[in-house]
Point group: C2
Chain length 282, copies 2
């Protein structure tokens, strides 16, 4: 009998992936964690029945959550990553020689252990000597840091599960204080399309907007996330995501990317009218 | 028992929509045609088990297939639309007072009849006196026209069913000849992500590139199409889709759009590296 993994994109819309092999299945201390294989997507892992990464398209999410702020901040040396147990965000950050230190705070150690086993590509950066791994609650971690980071990346699960506390006002305020005076925060921002996601996206954006003087939104095509239209929040104390992007500097680094490029960086902030209306309405 | 409509995004990936009502179901002379209802997407119709439009997101596809070329061509008066039985493309074109005449050629009359009944919004333009409807094969129609149109929009079904002939070399050559010396062709171009779609997209693009001196590709977020990352081909004898876009003129028209805007027009041509690599590889 065929086995299918199904993610509910909404109450009445299902996205189903044929599972040719189940590689891992466990109830961790925090969530249900499974690793599957599919002929088109390669290996993929899920938390509480939501797709986190697939081998085929993880590069899109990780390119966009990392290279956009890195092309803007003139000297991102000290970075905090919250969540991101699959390692892809840290892998991309480690490609920058200018990065001196990365704190990565993941609440669920089992996610990292399992990803190291099944996703050697995405976890490759976790062995970098510049990376310190903390297995604890990101909320508590960030609360204790003041004026420390150039960049904070919130690479959380969806706000309807373990990631919930990461979408609150006090958390974004703590991030603001943990950032230096020219710091940038990037937040995975959910999607604008299906009603349930839209609600979470607007809530996150509103709270970030209340906290940071600059709060913009950009987008990427992520086929295995609900609706394929995924948003990121770019919040900052000082830098504008387009005017302050230094593509000459970024190009000079010679990084090869499969999704990101400077023209697309600019284009990713060109939102559809219906999304702009939603964001202004708030 | 619940009823679900399922579209195969690939052999091993299914997209399923809960059907709360089946409004129409028929085997037309050409294809299987069904109209369903879903709480999140509203009414939607399918041909041979592929979603054509949903009330919730049809505006995205129709904005992008129409307003992009209309912002570029300085005087699009005589237009040919091939396929497009749901009427949405013609509806958007009819908002331009400068448009003098639209020939719409749809092979399957039953699609138009059924859409008029169930999708009064998308079919509203079909009653415009500037529109001539032809129920025949678009290939035969375009073959007979020379130096006639300012703009041809190929709004076809997927190339694996009735739309197949619309993805051939000789068809694009006939379109070239049916266009005036500064004519533009826009082609629904499928998607770059899943292997099967990618193959069709590359084939269409390659054939258009062989025929037209200018052949670019742009993209839109269409959640109910496979992968959500949809491409359009912009082919032209003379006009560049960005350099020749006249946003001052377009803005002066005062058209309200839910997806399209000039900034997004430019951004939609900023393709991810992996898509650019695919297109150049050919």
């Amino acid at each position: 009998m065929e086995k299918w993994f199904t993610e509910k994109h909404s109450d009445t819309i299902n996205f189903s992936i044929l599972v040719t092999k189940t590689l891992y299945s466990s109830q961790t201390k925090f969530q249900k964690l499974e690793v599957f294989e599919n002929p088109e997507l390669g290996k993929f892992f899920t938390l509480d029945d939501y797709v986190m990464i697939t081998e085929k398209d993880e590069f899109i999410y990780h390119d966009m959550i990392v290279h956009v702020p890195m092309a803007v901040h003139p000297k991102a040396e000290n970075i905090l990553v919250i969540g991101a147990g699959d390692g892809g965000t840290v892998r991309e950050l480690c490609r920058y020689q200018g990065v001196k230190h990365i704190d990565m705070v993941e609440i669920d150690e089992e996610v990292v252990t399992v990803c190291k086993q099944y996703f050697p590509n995405s976890t490759s950066g976790l062995y970098d000597p510049r990376v310190s791994l903390f297995f604890m609650d990101g909320l508590a971690f960030v609360r204790e840091r003041k004026n420390t980071y150039d960049l904070i990346i919130v690479d959380s699960t969806d706000p309807f599960s373990v990631g919930e506390g990461l979408f609150t006002r006090s958390f974004y305020k703590d991030c603001f204080e943990a950032l230096k005076e020219d710091g940038i925060l990037v937040n995975q921002h959910e999607s604008p399309f299906y009603a349930h996601y839209q609600k979470n996206m607007l809530r996150a954006h509103q709270r970030i907007k209340e906290t940071f003087p600059i709060a913009e939104v950009y987008q990427a095509f992520i086929p295995t996330y609900a609706s394929g239209h995924w948003l990121f929040g770019f919040a900052s104390k000082k830098y504008d995501p387009i005017k302050d992007a230094d593509f000459k500097r970024w190009n000079a680094l010679g990084l090869k990317t499969k999704y990101y490029n400077p023209q697309l960086h600019v284009g990713s902030f060109a939102l559809p009218n219906y999304v702009k209306t939603l964001l202004n309405k708030e």
